[in-house]
C-alpha cells in the first residue's frame, strides 16, 4: 500500500452463512484504488461487486483479509463520513422536498442552517437541478431523482464517491447523458470514484481502471488500466482504443463464466 492509496484491500473475503450452506460472496480480493481514480467494478449478477462496495462502505463486514479506506478501517471512515454513497434506487425520502433531501446528511452532521443552504444550492447547481428545490421526489423523472441523490452524496463533501449501479434503472439516452455529466463532475471535483455497473460501454467510457469480476466465488479476474484521456466525450466510444478495451473486458467476463459449467 502506498501513501496515495484511497482504498487498499488485501486478501479480502466474505462468506454469508445461509440455510443452503455458505455463500462465498468475495474470495481473495486484492484491490488498490489511488486518489483521483475512477474505478469501475464490472461483472455478472452475484459476482460480489455490490458486496465489495458495501464492504468499503462498512455496510457489510468482511470475514477475512483486511481493508483500509482513507488510511483507516472502513468503520472509522464511515464514522468520519469519508465517503458519499449513491444507491441503485435514488432512495430519496418521499416526505422531503429535493432541497431537504440534500440537506438530510447536513442536518445529521449538525451544520448551521446557513451552511446547509449554501451547500444545497451549490450541489443542486452541480447536477443541473437548480430551481427544483421545492419539488417532491415523485414530481421528478427517474434521471432527475438520481441526479438529486448524487447531489445529496456530494453535499457531504467526501473525497470518495461510492456508486452502486446508479444509472442501472434508467433508459439508455438518459444514461449516456448522465455518464457525460458524471465525468465532467468527476473532473471538476477531482474525487475518487468507485462505480459498480454491469454495462461494458459504461465502465469503459467512465473509468481510469476497470476491475473485472466473476461469480462463485466472487473474485477479481482482471484489472484494466485505461489509456483513454481523463476527460472524454461520447464520441470516444467509436474509437479503436475504446473498442479494444471493451473487447478485453468482454474477454475477461467470458473467461470468468467458463469456470462454471
Amino acid at each position: 500500500m502506498t501513501a496515495t492509496d484511497t482504498i487498499s484491500a488485501r486478501d479480502l473475503s466474505l462468506t454469508f452463512n445461509t440455510n443452503d450452506g455458505p455463500v462465498h460472496a468475495l474470495a481473495n480480493v486484492d484491490l488498490s484504488v489511488r486518489q483521483g481514480d475512477f474505478v469501475s467494478l464490472i461483472g455478472p449478477s452475484g459476482c460480489g461487486k455490490t458486496t465489495l462496495l458495501r464492504v468499503i462502505a462498512d455496510l457489510e463486514q468482511p470475514t477475512g483479509g483486511n481493508i483500509v479506506v482513507n488510511g483507516v478501517s472502513p468503520h472509522e471512515a464511515r464514522l468520519a463520513r469519508a465517503y458519499g454513497y449513491v444507491f441503485q434506487a435514488a432512495s430519496l425520502y418521499p416526505w422531503r422536498t429535493i432541497a431537504r433531501n440534500i440537506a438530510l446528511p447536513l442536518e445529521i452532521m449538525g451544520l448551521s442552517k446557513k451552511e446547509q443552504k449554501a451547500r444545497v444550492q451549490h450541489n443542486l447547481a452541480l447536477v443541473n437541478l437548480s430551481g427544483f428545490e421545492k419539488k417532491y421526489p415523485w414530481q421528478l423523472s427517474g434521471g432527475m431523482q438520481q441526479r438529486a441523490s448524487i447531489a445529496r452524496a456530494l453535499a457531504v463533501e467526501p473525497d470518495l464517491l461510492l456508486m452502486d449501479e446508479p444509472f442501472g434503472a434508467l433508459d439508455e439516452i438518459v444514461r449516456d447523458h448522465l455518464n457525460e455529466q458524471l465525468l465532467k463532475l468527476w473532473d471538476k471535483t477531482s474525487k475518487t470514484v468507485v462505480f459498480v455497473t454491469h454495462s461494458i460501454p459504461e465502465a469503459v467510457f467512465l473509468s481510469t481502471h476497470i476491475v473485472v469480476m466473476s461469480p462463485r466465488p466472487g473474485r477479481i479476474i482482471d484489472v484494466i488500466e485505461s489509456p483513454l484521456p481523463r476527460l472524454r466525450d461520447l464520441d470516444i466510444r467509436e474509437t479503436p482504443e475504446f473498442l479494444e478495451i471493451a473487447h478485453r473486458v468482454r474477454e475477461g467476463l467470458r473467461q470468468g463464466h467458463s469456470y462454471e459449467d
Binding site: 464511515r78 463520513r81 441503485q88 418521499p94 416526505w95 422531503r96 422536498t97 438530510l104 442536518e107 417532491y136
Partner: protein, 276 residues
Amino acid sequence: MAIFVVWIVAAVFLNTPFQNDTYARGKLENVPFSQLVTDTLNQERPVLPAPHQVGAELYNTTVKKKITSKRSLIFHSWITLSTALLGFVIGTALGVLLAVAIVHNRALDKSLMPWIIASQTIPILAIAPMIIVVLNAMGIQGLLPKAFISTYLSFFPVAVGMVKGLRSPEHSHIDLMHTYSASAPQTLWKLRIPAAMPYLFTSMKVAIAISMVGAIVGELPTGAVAGLGARLLAGSYYGQTIQIWSALVMASLLAALLVGLVSLANHFVLKRMGMS
C-alpha cells in the same frame, strides 16, 4: 333506506306479542292490521323502538334540554366523549412509546409483544370494574379511571401499527442513515417516524373508535352517574328501550364523527408531508 324498512318491519314484528296482550286485556277483538302497525310503532316501552321514536327522543334530549341538565343527552355525550378522548390520547402516546421501545430493543420485542397481545384477550367487561376499584383505592377518581379503560383498549392497535410502521422504511433508506453515521434518535426522527405516519393514522382510526367503547364500558361499573354508558344502564334498569336506543345512536354518531376527524387529520398531515 333499506335499513329503515327492515327496522320498521322488525319493530312491528317484535312488538306485536306485547300489543296483542294489551288488546286482550282491553277486551279488544278483530283489531285491523293498520291499527296494529300504528300501535306497535308507538308503544311506550317497545321491545324495539321505531326510528321516529328514537329520533323524537334524540331531539327532545338534545335540542330541547339545557346542556347542563342531567337529562340532556349532550351533557352525557360530552362526558363520554371527553373520557374517550383523554383515554385515546394517553393510549396513542403509550402505543407509540411501546412501539419505539420494541423496534429498538430485540429483548423487548420478544418479551413485551406476547404481553401486549395477552392484554387484549382479557374481556374488557371483566377487567373494567377492577381498574376502577383499584384506582379508586389509590385515590384516583373522576375522569381518569374511566379514561384508563379507553387507554387499555386503544393502545393496542397503535402499538401494533406503529411497530409495523417504524419498520417500514426500505433497506436502502436505512443504509443511507448508516452511511451518514446517524445516531439511533436521528434515524428515528428523520426516517422511522415520518415513514410510520400512514400506519399511525390507520391505527388511530381503530383506536379512537374503541376508545368510545372503552369509555362507555368504563361508565357502567361506576354506578351509572353520568355518560352514555350510564344512560344505557339506567335505561335497561327501567326498561326505557327508547332511551337505550337513542344513547346507542348517539354513541355511534360520535364514533363516526371521531373517525372522520382522524381521517381529516390524516389527509392534511400527509398532504403537508407531500405524501398524498
